[in-house]
Subunit: 196 residues, 2 copies
């Protein structure tokens, strides 16, 4: 790896948790250069502006999050069990510092920062398609009832997980995440062809 | 109303949508004085600092949101129907500009701004207690099954609603809010003593 690529990667890795915790506006260029141990001028040698760095930082944070949430899913055959592991991974595995990068970016980039918004929108689409594919495969393999709307299941799973993740960090005693997982497990069981 | 109170209220009303859309860091004092048609000095005559104004603005935005979400609930007897109306209000009524002030503040005040964080935490607690009271009353009146855990129902409702609200604003075509409402309605029906 060239020294330039190495520095570029270090800037991304060090700034990703900052953007995720503080948001785009809340994270200053000074915060970033301090964290990466750089001079301000050197930062702009790697990224034309703060927005393009924020996009790269989001990609990095989201990739880490997805790897963590999909861990072990390939080793499981049944669609319902696969989805349950995905939910469990999302609930128990250490999330990226600052919480889920997707929901943070969704809210943070509500106004302005269109490049970051697009990136998060693509991430959400890809996540939905991935889970929807598992539900549909479960239907083809006669594990999930054919009348179930895959898009509905996925929308409920994602909205409940993301909502619970945010609220759980804010008020850990209320047990939002545990209750969300419990609820999704019961819900997924109710979709099975054979009662679980 | 004294002129001072009038000006104070105008500052709160004008800054609340700004804070809700842009977040605490993203909303500058200049944005606020511009929106309220004030001189910068006059702002500090009403609020000692930006943080105390942000708390007052949150209280205002949350009060408006709650009034909208609870509209008509008093006219309904059954606990399950009452909860369904609450969900429906949350889904169809115009939300405060920028989306739900609670979830926005939860994410925005993740770091720093402890006064605002406390205010949002209290708001979440009060909302949970309010809905929990309706579930428990439904159990006392033999409308909701006694073995149902009121806290679980409320956590799932709130997390799913808030998650769907955020995602729906971000990706309106995916139908997160409609699917969330549909899911909660089915779920609430399943809690009834007599099948609905």
């Amino acid at each position: 790896m060239s020294k330039g690529t190495e520095t570029r990667n270090r800037i991304i890795e060090k700034s990703a948790p900052l953007f995720n915790r503080k948001g785009f506006d809340g994270c200053s260029v000074k915060d970033i250069v301090d964290a990466a141990g750089l001079e301000k001028g050197s930062l702009y040698g790697h990224f034309p502006n703060k927005e393009s760095l924020a996009v790269a930082a989001f990609d990095f944070a989201w990739k880490e999050t997805c790897e963590s949430r999909t861990a072990g899913m390939n080793q499981i055959d049944g669609a319902i069990e696969k989805l349950k592991l995905h939910v469990h991974n999302s609930v128990v595995r250490p999330v990226f510092p600052g919480g889920c990068p997707l929901i943070n970016t969704v809210i943070d980039s509500d106004d302005g920062n269109p490049a970051l918004k697009n990136e998060a929108r693509e991430a959400l689409k890809t996540w939905r398609r991935f889970l929807q594919g598992i539900v549909e495969q479960g239907q083809e393999r006669n594990q999930i009832r054919s009348e179930v709307e895959a898009a509905d299941v996925v929308a409920v799973m994602i909205a409940l997980l993301e909502g619970a993740m945010v609220l759980d960090r804010f008020d850990p005693k209320a047990g939002f995440l545990d209750k969300a997982e419990q609820h999704i497990v019961t819900y997924l069981n109710s979709l099975a062809v054979a009662a679980i």
